[in-house]
Each structure stands twice: as C-alpha cells, then as structure tokens.
Amino acid sequence: MESLQIKTMAEMMAASEEPEVLFWVGCMGSFDDRAKKITKAFAKILNKANVKFAVLGAEESCTGDPAKRAGNEFLFQMQAFANIQVLDGYNVKRIVTACPHCFNTLKNEYPELGGNYEVIHHTQFLQSLLNEGRITVEGGTFKGKKITFHDPCYLGRANGVYEAPREVLSKLDSELTEMKRCKQSGLCCGAGGAQMFKEAEKGNKEVNIERTEDALEVKPDIIAVGCPFCNTMMTDGVKHFNKENEIEVKDIAELIAEAADL
C-alpha cells in the first residue's frame, strides 16, 4: 500500500507554502493503533477534498489536556508554552483536530496563554466540506444501517457542538437513532478527566459498560463516535457484551471515508 501524501509544516515552510489548515493529530491519533485508522481516514478525506493541509509531525506534542484535568497545571502550562512557540513559529491560524480533548484545550485554554487560533473539530470540518461540495458521499454503503452517535463530553457539553456530527451522519443515508441519554444529557464514556490513564476508582461497574448498555438498547449496527478516547471505551464496552461481530464502533471520519470509497 502506498503511503499517504502528508506534508509537515516544516516541509511546507521550506517550500514557502502556507497550508489552509493545520491538522493537529494528537497523541491518540499518532500512537494508538485504533486511533491511527481515524487519522488516516481523515487525512484521506482531506486529500480527496484537495484541502491544503499540513501536520506538525515530530514537532507536535501533547496539548497538556490530561495533565490539566488531573491537576498538574504546571505540566499543562509548560506544554502549552512550548506548543504555542511552535504554532506561532509557523504562523498557524487554523487548526483542525479529530480529538475533542485537543480541540477544547487549544480552543479555550490556549488563548489566555497567548495562543490564538481558529480551532475546528473534524466533524465541523467535515460538515463544511460536505456543505461546500468539496467531498460527496454515496449513500449506498450504509443504506438501511442503524447508526447511533455517542456525544463526546468535550465536544458536546463542554463546547456545545451537537449538530455538526449529526448533520454529517445524516448524509450517510442510514437510520440515525438517538440513545435515551444524548446531547446535553449524554453520558460520559468514562475516559475523560485523565481516567484513560488510570484504573477506575472502586465502584460496582465501569462507566463504559454503563454507556455501552445505553447504546445496545437502541440495537444499532454502528456506534458512531467523534473522539479517539470514546472510541476505545465503546469498543471495549461492545467486546464486553461479545457483540463485536454485530456492532461496529467507528469514528465519523471513518464512516465518511468509507462512504466516499476512500
């Protein structure tokens, strides 16, 4: 398989080019095997839509989100300081990311530390690409499939983005079903607040099991997600119930890439 055409900011700058948007990949998207598929799917869509984009590659570093949620404000601000230096060094103006945690941190917490960018979540970006006709999808792939969308806390409640992912999903010509807890009252997948990196505290259930039960209730073929952390948690949840052969957990970017035959 040929490798993807991805330019780094350094390469762009060397060629005195400026990208339309910087794709902030994030740590999950860079290193986690499952999340890398989302990254690739999204990069393929960007290429297909002729979006002139770049990544930071080895110059990207953790936004500091998990450190901040865990209370390590020092580490967070050090990361922010270093990242802002890099971003400003390349004169970055627009950032798109497939991770709601990076999205929230870059968009809301960096400005006060001197980093001012237009930050877009990839579902919002996909929405505008579809609306502008820069990509088109064939409905056939998902015809008759039942899809339910799990709202990531840091996209939904934290930033009020509920419609973009749903509007993108509506292009798939599938049956979009809501779980009983959705949008403002959507239940967390259990990974936020740095829980991803530790064992859960003592309790009688895992949060992702509770959330997967919500999803199973609507009997979906696909659980759509918009966050690599939610993806992991929901995938584990589906496996817990031995449903991995019947129910797929997929990022919206993957669904669009599939529908666009990429």
Binding site: G29, A70, E109, R157, G193, K198
Partner: protein
C-alpha cells in the same frame, strides 16, 4: 394596640436576626479568594433571567420542574399579601389593600392568591410523598444524613401549614363579612364595616361550611390563623439562611455570576503562569526585584486544600445548593458506584465553611482550627473518580460548578503533595519526557503515514 406592639417587636427582631445571619454568610463567602466577575453584565442579567427567574433548567425534569414552579410562583406572588399582612400588623388595620384597590379587584386578588396557595399545598404534598415514600434514589446517598433529610421535610411541612392557615383565615373572614350587618356589629367587630364581597373567596369557599356560626369564635379563628401565618413566615425567614432553602435568595446572584465560558474551559492558574514564564521564557529576569506595589504577600497555594483556597464564587455556590441531587444522579462516577457525589462536594464545602467561619468569629480572623476541606471532609478517592464530563454542571438548576472545586482540590494533591495516583504520575513523566501520555518517542509521531 397591644397586638400592634407585639407584632412590630417580632418584625424588628426577625429583621435583626436575619440581617445578622446574612452578614455572617457574606463574611464566610468573603473568606474565598478574589475573582473578578464584573465582566459582561448584560449576558449575566440574561443568564439570571433565564435560569433563576425563568427556571429554565428546572424543567429538564418535567414533574419536579412543574411542581417547583408552582411553589416558586406561589411564594413570589403571595408575598404581596404578606406585605398587606405586615402593614395591617403594624398599624392595626384590617385588609388595608381593600380600601386602596376597591372591592372587585381585591376579591380577584385574594381569590388568585388562594388558588396559588392551594396549588402550593398540592405541590408540597406531592414533594413530601416523593421524598418520603417515593424512594427516589437521589434523595438518599451517603451525604443525605439525618439533618439534610429533616431540613427538606421541615420546610415542606411548614409551607403546608402556612397555606392551610392562609386559607382558613380567609374562610373565617369571608363568613364574618357575610354576617357583618347583624352579628358582627353586635359583637363589636366594627372594623368589618364597609367591607363587602360578592361571594366567598374562590378556594376558602370550600372551607366555610366547616366554620362555626358564632362571630366571636370566627374572629378568634381568623386571628389565630393570621398569627400562625405571619409568625410562620417570620420564623421561615430566620430558618432559611441556616438551611438548604437559602437557594430562594442566592439562586439569583449565583446565576448572575455563572461561568460564562464554555464549560470545558478550566481556568489557567495565574500563580503557575508566573513560574512557567520564569522557567521557559528567556526574556524573563528571574532575579528581577518584585514590583514596588507588590507588597509582602505570602505566595498562594497551588490549588485548594481548604475553603479559603477556593474562590468566593465556589463558596457562594456552596450556600446556593439546595441538595436536590440532580448533579449526583447525572454523575457517571456516582452511577457506577464510585464514592464521588458532586452534591456531597458542595455540602462539604458549605459545612466546612460554616465550621471555619464560626471558628474565626470566635477566635479572630487569623486563627486556624487545624482542619481542612481536603482530608477532613473530601477524600482523594472521591476526587480521582471524576471524569470531568460536566454532567453535574449541566444538571444544576442554579448553575453551581462542583467540577471547579474538584479540579482545584486535585491541583493541590498533585502540585503541593505529589499525591497523584501512581499511573497518573507515570502519565505526567511521559508527557514531560516524550510529549505524549505514553512511552512513545516524539520522533515517531508521523509513523502512521507510512503504515498500512
């Protein structure tokens, strides 16, 4: 005449006790750190109008929301009648507003108050049943100990009595109005002269059948109910600032000072910012003399160990909490059996603040009692169960932010005590060393490009 004096004394005493308690609470809230929330007044007024006045978040749960609106509207509007009762009480008049607005309007006014009183009564009874027989999960929980449970019941029962007294008073009065030409005058109740109504009042009409015929007995029933009603209300005023029911006042300022930023945005600690700049910014002179106006202030703690490390808004939040438990019932950690309950965080903050405030009033403002919110009230296990998902802040009908307290307490644990769970310390180290929460080399960040 005597009754006017007694009434005035009671009224003034209540006002004094109430104002002193308010000053106490204000002093306690001011123990918190400064926080400038004077920005965006127009957006703040709008938030207050929508959330507090308009009860927009209450109706997320339709039954409780609707019942609450009945009590709320009843409470606010019946206050107009209380104004009349107070004036009557001080000056010894009877139904003063009758003379001011005329018979027809007064009749409608009292009738609608009665209707509201009846609806409030129904709502209170429904709430009592829900709370005590309904076995709602959110009304139990570790923090719902004896006092919070009684507090809720006391208020509901008192409200029932207040409404019953109001209706009985009106029933007795309306019977007296009807017979005023014959009996009443003979009995010497001449302040009933000149008051006329087309009929009994809308709701108390159903009680008139139970009333006796003797005007003096009726008079005493009316007076007794009048006194029960007004002393009940004055007692309520003294009780409320010691109770969770203080939300009836604080809901308004508390929503005015709501967090206006997206709920995912956590504040950037100023104190840390200075340190980080010193470390990372080559243009900062670490040996620079402090600004002359900086004064000799002790450096603040990173994060919060006690209530005095929290902002005054966090503390106002604590006094605004009415322990409804919507936050806790929406909390993913709590739903899955973890120790964390956002409501407990708020109740602990308030109880600790009350304790510390009392200690400082008795022993001087510099005195410490050796206890703290973290440790003596809130355990680290509770804090580490939080997913920071903002379900609690979304659920709160008066925009309380338990999450901000949780994060500030975590900050203290991590930055002052190095007491993060071991796995999180590993995550921190990874971010420091290789810019990712896992042990992957930063140089490998673009490897995905060439992987099949």
């Amino acid at each position: 005449m005597i009754s006017s004096i007694i009434f005035t004394v009671l009224l003034v005493a209540t006002a004094v006790i109430f104002i002193r308690r308010i000053a106490e609470i204000k002093g306690n809230i001011n123990l918190g750190r400064d926080l400038d929330l004077s920005d965006n007044p127009s957006e703040r007024w709008k938030t207050m109008a929508r959330v507090a006045l308009g009860q927009s978040k209450m109706v997320a749960r339709p039954l409780a929301g609707f019942m609450h609106i009945l009590i709320y509207v009843g409470f606010v509007l019946i206050n107009i009648e209380i104004l009349e009762i107070i004036i009557d009480g001080v000056f010894g008049t009877h139904r003063l507003f009758y003379g001011l607005i005329g018979s027809d309007l007064y009749y409608v006014l009292i009738g609608s108050f009665e209707l509201l009183a009846f609806l409030v009564l129904v709502a209170c009874v429904v709430f009592l049943i829900r709370r005590n027989i309904g076995k709602l999960k959110r009304f139990s929980g570790t923090e719902m100990t004896k006092w919070p449970k009684s507090d809720a019941n006391i208020i509901l029962i008192v409200e029932c009595f207040l409404m019953l007294a109001l209706l009985t008073m009106n029933a007795a009065d309306s019977v007296l109005f009807m017979m005023k030409d014959t009996w009443v005058m003979q009995a010497g109740l001449d302040h009933y002269a000149g008051i006329e109504f087309p009929d009994s009042f809308w709701v108390s009409a159903y009680l008139t059948g139970f009333m006796p015929d003797d005007p003096m007995t009726l008079f005493y029933i009316e007076r007794t109910c009048w006194w029960i009603h007004i002393t009940g209300i004055l007692g309520f005023l003294i009780y409320v600032p010691y109770s969770k029911h203080f939300h009836i006042f604080l809901a308004f300022p508390n929503t005015y000072y709501s967090k206006l930023q997206p709920s995912g945005e956590f504040n950037n600690l100023e104190s840390v910012k200075k340190e980080v700049e010193m470390m990372m910014d080559p243009n900062v002179d670490p040996f620079a003399a402090p600004a002359p106006d900086a004064g000799d202030v002790a450096p603040q703690r990173f994060g919060a160990k006690d209530v005095t490390d929290l902002s005054w808004k966090n503390l106002m939040d604590a006094y605004s909490c009415t322990e409804c438990g919507r936050c806790t019932s929406e909390c993913p950690a709590n739903q899955t059996g973890k120790l964390l309950s956002p409501r407990k965080i708020m109740m602990d903050t308030r109880d600790r603040l009350e304790e510390l405030g009392k200690h400082k009033r008795a022993n001087g403002s510099e005195s410490e009692d050796g206890k703290s919110l973290l440790g003596d009230y809130v355990s680290s296990e509770e804090l580490w169960a939080c997913t920071t998902c903002n379900a609690c802040t979304q659920a709160c009908p008066v925009n309380i932010d338990p999450l901000s307290i949780i994060v500030d307490l975590r900050r203290f644990l991590v930055m002052e005590e190095s007491a993060a769970p071991a796995e999180l310390n590993g995550m921190f180290t990874n971010i420091e060393n290789n810019g990712a929460p896992w042990q992957f080399a930063q140089a490998d960040r673009l490897n995905w490009k060439d992987e099949a």
